[in-house]
């Protein structure tokens, strides 16, 4: 989840957990949706989708908006970042962390890469 306390270097590096990934995927495709529609569409339990949405809202990946439908409150969720923006945020986070811990090595690495190009 975007904050990079601990990056796992397996084959698929992702800022999102599998369920977060599914939810974001759905929202990127459909724009905005109600929690029950999201849960139904991705086939996950309502309570875990709601808990995950809370986390996504807190981390500012998703926005929760209140709507009035026939005098009754409904909440719809929409992505706050595009996939590209999320990737940039993630990579920047990783690089910041690397710079913080291994500054000189990283600078030297990019310097070499830069010269090769």
């Amino acid at each position: 989840m975007v904050k990079v306390e601990r990056v796992e270097f397996d084959e698929k590096m992702s800022p999102l957990s599998p369920l977060e990934e599914k939810i974001m995927e759905f929202l990127w495709k459909n724009g905005s949706a109600h929690v029950s529609l999201i849960a139904e569409s991705i086939g996950a339990p309502l309570s875990s989708v709601a808990a995950t949405l809370d986390r996504l809202v807190k981390n500012e990946l998703v926005e929760r908006k209140q709507e009035k439908v026939e005098g009754r409150r409904k909440f719809v969720y929409s992505p706050k970042l595009s996939r590209d923006e999320l990737n940039v945020k993630f990579i920047e986070g990783v690089l910041d962390k690397l710079m913080e811990n291994f500054g000189e090595v990283v600078v030297e690495y990019f310097h070499k890469k830069g010269i090769k190009k």
Binding site: V35, P45, L46, A51, R64, F75
Partner: protein, 215 residues
Amino acid sequence: MNAIECTITCLRNSQMFIPSILISVGFFVSIFGYFIVKDSIEKLRFYWFANVLALVNMPVLFLSMSCDMILFIKLYLGYAGITIAMLLVSPFLYKVYLKRRIGFERDAELERLVGVDRVNVLNTSLPKAFTLGNEIFISAGMLDLLENEEIKAVLAHEKFHVLENKTPLVSRLKYLTFLPISQDKIEVMADEYAKKIAGKESLEMARRKIDEFYA
């Protein structure tokens, strides 16, 4: 002579014997009333009386002591002091924690709907509702899940807890008099109150939807 025998002997020999008996009778009448009345609010009132009388009885008993009960009294006062301090501070601390961790906003519309001074909407998609002191907290997830009448039922249930907390000191006295009603009992009373305000069906429907959500 053990402490209990001492207490009884002291009481019998003191001028406080009669007042203490009167208070005790009042106490038992209140407990009796608590068990026989049906209405939740009246139940709460009897419970409150019982607590007040039990608390009044303490200094009366204390004044009637001629033998050495000082240790017990000191222990009790220490306990009472710490308990009251914790009960006063903990809702406040929990509110600060909620604000930071989850976040909430005051909602005038819901305040009007249920007739409570303060109703806050929690920023979470999970359906939740609870009461802290005189304030009701209900989550966005709850408002999203339920129809208006069901929301009213949930708020009415919580309003009962507000009334319970507002009944002077009832929520605190029970810790000092060692006379607690079980939480289950309070929940049943709160449900009865909610049914009276919003109807049995609304409350039951709300309950069913919440159970389904977490299933």
